[in-house]
Symmetry: D2
Subunit: 370 residues, 4 copies
Amino acid sequence: MNKNVAIQVGILGASGYTGRELTRILSKHPQADIVYLGTSSAQGQKYYSAYPELFGYPVGELTMEDESCVPKVDVLFCAVPHGIMAERAADLLARGIKVIDLGADFRLKDPAAYRFWYGDSEKTGQVSQTGVTGLPDNDLDHPDQENLSQAVYGLTEIYQKNVATGRLIANPGCYPTATLLPLIPLLQEDLIEYDPIVIDAKSGVSGAGRAASARTHFCQVESNFQVYGVEGHRHLPEIEQELSVAAGEPVTVSFTPHLVPMARGMMATIYVRTRTDVCEADLRRCWSNAYAEAAFVKVLPSGLWPMSKHALGSNNLFMQVRVDERTRTAVVVSVLDNLVKGASGQAVQNMNVMFGWPEEQGLEFLSLWP
Amino acid sequence: MNKNVAIQVGILGASGYTGRELTRILSKHPQADIVYLGTSSAQGQKYYSAYPELFGYPVGELTMEDESCVPKVDVLFCAVPHGIMAERAADLLARGIKVIDLGADFRLKDPAAYRFWYGDSEKTGQVSQTGVTGLPDNDLDHPDQENLSQAVYGLTEIYQKNVATGRLIANPGCYPTATLLPLIPLLQEDLIEYDPIVIDAKSGVSGAGRAASARTHFCQVESNFQVYGVEGHRHLPEIEQELSVAAGEPVTVSFTPHLVPMARGMMATIYVRTRTDVCEADLRRCWSNAYAEAAFVKVLPSGLWPMSKHALGSNNLFMQVRVDERTRTAVVVSVLDNLVKGASGQAVQNMNVMFGWPEEQGLEFLSLWP
Amino acid sequence: MNKNVAIQVGILGASGYTGRELTRILSKHPQADIVYLGTSSAQGQKYYSAYPELFGYPVGELTMEDESCVPKVDVLFCAVPHGIMAERAADLLARGIKVIDLGADFRLKDPAAYRFWYGDSEKTGQVSQTGVTGLPDNDLDHPDQENLSQAVYGLTEIYQKNVATGRLIANPGCYPTATLLPLIPLLQEDLIEYDPIVIDAKSGVSGAGRAASARTHFCQVESNFQVYGVEGHRHLPEIEQELSVAAGEPVTVSFTPHLVPMARGMMATIYVRTRTDVCEADLRRCWSNAYAEAAFVKVLPSGLWPMSKHALGSNNLFMQVRVDERTRTAVVVSVLDNLVKGASGQAVQNMNVMFGWPEEQGLEFLSLWP
Amino acid sequence: MNKNVAIQVGILGASGYTGRELTRILSKHPQADIVYLGTSSAQGQKYYSAYPELFGYPVGELTMEDESCVPKVDVLFCAVPHGIMAERAADLLARGIKVIDLGADFRLKDPAAYRFWYGDSEKTGQVSQTGVTGLPDNDLDHPDQENLSQAVYGLTEIYQKNVATGRLIANPGCYPTATLLPLIPLLQEDLIEYDPIVIDAKSGVSGAGRAASARTHFCQVESNFQVYGVEGHRHLPEIEQELSVAAGEPVTVSFTPHLVPMARGMMATIYVRTRTDVCEADLRRCWSNAYAEAAFVKVLPSGLWPMSKHALGSNNLFMQVRVDERTRTAVVVSVLDNLVKGASGQAVQNMNVMFGWPEEQGLEFLSLWP
């Protein structure tokens, strides 16, 4: 494979699933070279000791290094627990390193919202990213409000221009990506009502991360379907923030995530009411216009319904809609691979935009099927 | 095991999954003896040739017989494609055989609804029970409107008194059972609004039956999450019929089924709006009262969320609710095993009620975990 | 359900999978009442807090108690990590409590073998039951050699007479059960050679227990097939001990376990050489004779091959054989549910024999399918 | 992505899984362009109608054409049922088209073996590639013995020189690839005994193809582990043929395939006896020498055991070995993705070699994990 390397990149949190997915993509990216793999737990080990399937590949032979010793790279991808990048971003940016944060620290523009949902990092340190069972106390302010205000929310198709000039990208969560891409154009064009919006979302287990826990035990998940986070999931404020921007007024949604017995993949089934006289074709036309130039957003032909596996291993998001005239309910379905378009793939897509490259560069691989 | 046999039972459609589940339950029922296994495809074979795990059991040694030669049993369980029992029930009833129909032929009270959803049996003969992709033409009337009007809808907890005196039981579908048991008491007590009602349902694959098809191929289902029947699923009119009875006026719902990579199990996540001043505790109290005497309906303590696997192999339905005060949305979650409470278990429960036995007789087995 | 309770039983290690399976079986056993659930981690909690699907059942309402305070029950089932019962059995027996140990402490008759495989309980405390990656040091003797010598190896079909008079039963491991029941009669009748014997075994994940670990993470197991314990698995000496008894001389085997992406179930594929002039029918005839009276050992008709799911939830072991005349190799296949015949079901079967009851009492439930 | 297209390729059997995998790889191959997708069942449809996840990609927009109208391409990949290419290859070769046959028609050099295993194409037309339950009658000779004798067995690492000059490549089966690559060097260097050789193999379900059948029904496969083909699997003679070549004398093996509840992936666990004085390090050294230049054969460091998922989506084969000194048994474990190195990936690897390109071209993608 011919590389024409232009930049050097590093990965914080390389030993997690998101980090592993970044290495899969970046090690074949034609213009980027991985020079640093940071870890909090496996310093000094070869990367293949964590991921034996990479034995013999250059990235597999890299030694994982301490998370605190980031070299001067062009871009640093950060896949670490929330709270860490809020503390560290400023210094990295000051060193001229562009930061793409796959965590949550710079997604919520409202410091009060951040404080409410992520404020007590001590108490919530053990809480998995996939849910909270009790809301945290609200005693910690965001430590870097300057960069918070300048960070770009990296939903690439929506904020492409801002990403192009950004130095700190807040890469969206997987649920928000699956929800926002179908809904934002519909709200912008005022084709649907703002209330009620019901988001029934289903995710594979890799979204919960690599840490072993009772909830990710195979015997707990296999042949089982679970609901979680009904009391409040941290992706909710992120979804409402961006829907409100699109609507031009505050939007409140009902959002309920579920766990599917599969490693990767995500579906959002979204129930909204159409504005009077808006029909199914209007919604589809809106999407087609909005995403005419988007390499990764696929509006399926009418009648073809997306499955989560359609996106497996690819950076694609597929979507479809049907309006039930009886109830004036539009059923919107979107799917993606939570580790690709829902995390690492979108992060690389943002890198491409930041450097003025085609957004699909290094991301052109097709879905694996079956 | 001591049996005190009181009745003889037969099973039509014994070679399917629902038939197999009936044999699991009935062969250990203390008062019923299986004397007839009817099949349309495997006449003359021992039952264990279809189900080798039953080799050596009395039921496994039974020979499957022609579906058209039903002996004079006390009860006949019918697990055959729709359209067949509508033709055959009258004759069986005339012979003094009680009929418990696990199919759809006597569920819809409105002949027009039956005609709309099931009317063209020729065209829809191949359509799986789990979905229709194009609605059938409406050219076939129900052939037995007399028995249709006398049939008892066998949602045991709701229609127990009618079941007790019934001779023809229309056993409910799995999705309706999962949906109706939580919603009916809330509507009867007027605790929730009638509109919108959004039912996002998820089922294991056994609901699609034993026939091989592209949609049930392992590689199509594994590690995959699918939506189907968005254009209209045959369980929708059944749900609306019974919700309308409970509400006392026509209720229209949005119902979207999904397919989960698991063999058994079902969850319904239901989004409704509470009436003004109705809180979470009111909903839970309503359920507790409604199901105080119900052996199989389990209202979980607050905060414990049901998983589909909780019901595995048992006749239980578990339910839980949370009201989001921000959106006044009650998120109702119910789970069951689609082959037990969603089909064969409820059928046996109905048999128990018909004969004046305790409803839990022969159904007391606990869930399998994990 | 009519109970005719004769004895009181307790369970040590009630919160684990084996303990949970014991409660499923024993709570419906017609002559036993569960009066004690011991736990090392969840004292004071209702059992349903660990297993919500038992909410509303008597066993679910029991409070889990400290493992060290065992009341005077008739039988105590012990499902705790190895090393513990070796210390505690003597005292329980002295109190007149019959002990059925589902762990490994009294299985190996040779104290040296015990010391080699289980000797260093400190170091191996964290090692899961399913495998060792480095063999333990050999510095701990068995603390109770008197009871070790009197313990009965509870492979019910083989040692039924000893079990009947036993007070301390060493319930076999799942792999040994799957391997020994087909092989012992063949060795006893000298139909197969003693060398080579290759056992390629495959297990569901519940055999690794309920503790969360990297190896039981859903994303590690799903859509994956793994080999483990190639360097030595603790069930190996147990297998060799009993095969040697059957053969009348030391037998050495090659045993390799694998992990299948399923929660329950086990298959052993065993490769042995037949003695000269021994044909397939001879092997099948040997089995039929040996297990003519055995309720749970099913020799399938020729050509029907067992699947692991055939045994799901039942106490059955299915077996089949084919002799390849080209290589004189007999391929023996056996399956069972590792939590039932491979653990808790066999334990209850042993209890039945100890009390002179029919061995199948309370164990007559059929397999769940699908 | 920059393509530097050198050749045009076509695919026969494009609608099957192997065909789909070829499109995944070839559509991103830098020097090949897909210009023809042949099908026997879906003529005239866009490829995305069979595989919606390819909607919007050039390959997805191709129209599937009749299988009998192959244009003049440089290479034709053939993924059709056996019997067809035996009839059609001669004509294609005469037209100057290089043929890479992913089926079995040119693998067995001995016409008698072909006749025995594949001879009765009428009767075995419906038999899936994964097994035969009764051996076919032996009444059909291979219709093209000239090309049979000139075909190159496309196990790339072993027959690279012959592939380079070949015009008709018989691409190996998945089980043979997993078995032969580890065993051939050991036999060539005479490090292991020729008898017994026990191959216990496990495959994901995609190996059985896309056709719906009882054996591939999700509910039959999920949470289940099955053995099949014990009476004889068609990959057996292919394995014995190539092992015999390596050993220089006839080798007979015991080969038993199993079905794992996963879509992709394969493991072979192989039990052989080492020659006297041969130790584990000798075996590993032999492999390291044999595959020093092989891009896709990964001999893992001692102690790291391959899992089937290590190969997911990649063209890699991973292997490992341990010698048990007690029994002088070497346990050899190899894994691959049955659709990549076991089928379509190896086919593309062979194409690369035929055209003098680096063998890894277009195959450099890393495994997907998790």
